[in-house]
């Protein structure tokens, strides 16, 4: 969907209008020079975007701990030993399990809850819905510094410290507000005649939501899922405070403990970092198709 929308809309504002063209160009078509410049800028930007990640991959192949200071030496002795070490000698798979449990838990619960919220706010003008959206936005402003101590105490009251569920709930509280906003914007773009048709045909409000609206909102849901997943996957402060046993560390915490454990052995760190980046990037490229369309809907309606 995103591909087609982009193909049909071209921005003519990039086409240079100075220097009358010798042969007529179609709208949105560029002179060769402008096209070259465009490609040049995009290639440079892509390199900048790609380079730190590629560099990390490259460094992870060097077997010695000081190789990152002398990258030239790596060429002669590239090896996958670091990966073997990380996979066999560390708690990598424990971390993988807990990270996936927490991230996928946040994604499922977060998207479900955000979808019902977004739908309710989008479709039903119940008293207080405007204030509710602002409360949601306000929760994005709360700095962790003020929340983390009380949160810790509440979670320990609820016996949720060092448990996956506790962390999932905490992440939901950060991911859901934004997702709800985004999905509300998306639901706004779905014609309400569809709801009415469903109601006329005898569906309950929940039935309308689950059987008609959710399938139509897939792009928006994909973005919300992606956002929740990334939030949960990359979060550092809560995870390092709330997860106590080292078998339940998420990668974000595990990688840090790894650094202090093998003090200067950065080659293992690099290898772990690369291995961590693999699942999340895979997930990312699964949903990226819907990303632009979903973000637009969220953005334009805010």
């Amino acid at each position: 969907m995103s591909t087609t929308t982009r193909l049909t809309s071209s921005a003519a504002d990039q086409a240079p209008s100075t220097a009358a063209p010798r042969k007529a160009r179609r709208r949105g078509e560029q002179s060769p020079g402008a096209r070259l410049a465009t490609h040049g800028v995009l290639v440079v930007a892509s390199l900048i975007a790609l380079f730190p990640v590629a560099w990390l991959v490259f460094l992870s192949l060097g077997p010695d701990k000081d190789d990152y200071l002398h990258p030239g030496r790596i060429f002669g002795k590239m090896t996958l030993d670091n990966y073997v070490f990380v996979l066999q000698e560390t708690r990598f798979f424990d971390w993988l399990t807990s990270t996936l449990v927490v991230s996928l838990g946040t994604t499922v619960i977060g998207v479900l809850v955000a979808a019902t919220t977004g739908y309710a706010v989008s479709r039903m003008r119940f008293p207080g819905y405007k204030k509710f959206m602002w409360v949601l936005l306000m929760t994005q402003m709360f700095p962790i510094a003020v929340l983390i101590v009380p949160m810790y105490q509440i979670l320990s009251e609820l016996q949720l410290i060092d448990s996956y569920l506790g962390l999932v709930l905490v992440y939901c509280s950060t991911a859901v507000p934004y997702c709800a906003w985004l999905l509300k914007g998306y639901f706004d773009t779905i014609p309400f005649e569809i709801d009415e048709a469903g109601r006329v045909d005898g569906l309950t409000p929940f039935g309308t939501f689950a059987r008609l609206i959710l399938p139509l909102a897939k792009p928006g849901l994909a973005v919300a899922a992606f956002y929740s997943f990334i939030t949960a996957f990359g979060e550092v402060a809560f995870a390092s405070t709330f997860m106590l046993s080292d078998t339940k560390y998420t990668f974000a915490v595990g990688l840090q403990s790894f650094v202090s454990e093998h003090d200067a052995q950065r080659q293992y760190m690099a290898a772990t970092a690369v291995l961590v980046a693999v699942p999340v990037s895979a997930f990312f490229y699964l949903v990226q198709k819907n990303l632009v369309t979903g973000l637009t809907a969220g953005g334009t309606k805010g």
Binding site: A11, D13, P16, F126, F142
Partner: protein, 334 residues
């Protein structure tokens, strides 16, 4: 067409039914909207327990002298009760105009403002530039987009490690600068360069979000507007200024606000890049975290007070921002 139609429900708003009394209305509202409340209940519950209650509690803590030595804690089987006391607004007074207030608060405050302004500006300008480029009919556009989104796709804590390798004293960036006979700053030690590096890394991480949002915004602008502008003889700059920018207005206002909030509260990048070794490069959030968790004894009360100050800065900013946006438009986002 004077009959107002409720955009979302499609109900005609008219005087078709007589207005019922308050009690009936309440009952009616409940009957009509009970499922709306049911749908919102889970969020309200989680946010109430995990965000609003901690906020109130944090505010209370900021009015006490709580630290890790006098808070309730459990050592082995012994439970020690909390002994901290209520001291009113002393924490705030101490932070804002205590003895070393400049070093502890104002220097971080100024740096936080600079950091937020610089990062959001860079995010927006670079993101808009790239979105404009990607919004053309060019070869390999999908590939460019996939690569450019990479900094967002890979988790921050991974990419920040990559940057640390590159910024190390004799790391890649300094080697390259050295080869070009340029000065090689101590990126991770010298305060100015620490700050420079922090902005650079955060810009790198934050551009993809802006780029994708703005790209989406660009695609939702009606093409016929450009055609009309072209017919009227508008130059490329005029089309950008009078068609593109107004068309992006609603997306921009949302993403800029979110960008400010997220950057202002950005924790991971500075925390991971310097690992608590650079107090001068700490923005208020990481500094508050350092007070509450990075030192002994942990000063919960001051940390919470910093948090409340941060929050109030953001609330004030948002209020002004909304007013500024609403100066000629009735609403930003309801």
């Amino acid at each position: 067409m004077t009959v107002a139609i409720d955009r979302a429900t499609g109900k005609r708003r008219g005087e078709r039914t007589p207005r019922p009394g308050p009690l009936t209305r309440l009952k009616h509202t409940y009957q009509k909207y009970w499922y709306a409340y049911a749908m919102i209940a889970p969020v309200a519950l989680v946010l109430g327990v995990l965000v609003l209650y901690p906020l109130v509690y944090g505010f209370y803590l900021s009015l006490t002298d709580a630290d890790s030595l006098n808070s309730a804690r459990t050592i082995g089987v012994n439970r020690i009760e909390a002994t901290y006391t209520f001291i009113g607004l002393d924490n705030y007074a101490d932070i804002l105009w205590g003895d070393t207030a400049y070093d502890r608060f104002w220097s971080h405050f100024i740096w936080t403002i600079v950091w937020t302004a610089a990062c959001v500006t860079l995010h927006y300008v670079i993101g808009l530039g790239l979105a404009l480029l990607l919004n053309q009919r060019i070869r390999g556009r999908t590939l460019y987009r996939l690569v450019l989104v990479l900094p967002w796709a890979v988790p921050t804590f991974v990419t920040v490690f990559g940057w640390r390798f590159m910024l190390a004293d004799t790391g890649l960036i300094n080697s390259a600068l050295d080869a070009l006979h340029l000065p090689t700053p101590l990126w991770l030690e010298d305060t100015f360069w620490q700050r420079f590096a922090a902005i650079m890394v955060n810009t790198w991480c934050g551009v993809p979000f802006m780029m994708l949002s703005l790209l989406g915004g660009l695609q939702s602008i009606d093409t016929s507007l450009y055609e009309a502008a072209e017919m009227d003889g508008a130059s490329a700059w005029q089309r950008f200024r009078f068609v593109t920018l107004p068309g992006l207005r609603s997306v921009s206002s949302t993403v800029v606000l979110l960008g400010v909030i997220w950057t202002f509260n950005q924790f991971a990048i500075i925390f991971l890049l310097f690992g608590g070794t650079a107090p001068d490069a700490d923005i208020l959030v990481t500094w508050a975290y350092y007070l509450g968790f990075g030192q002994q004894p942990r000063d919960f009360a001051q940390s919470a007070a910093y948090g409340m100050l941060l929050l109030s800065v953001l609330v004030v900013f948002t209020a002004f921002y909304r007013r500024w946006l609403n100066r000629d438009e009735p609403q930003l986002a309801n």
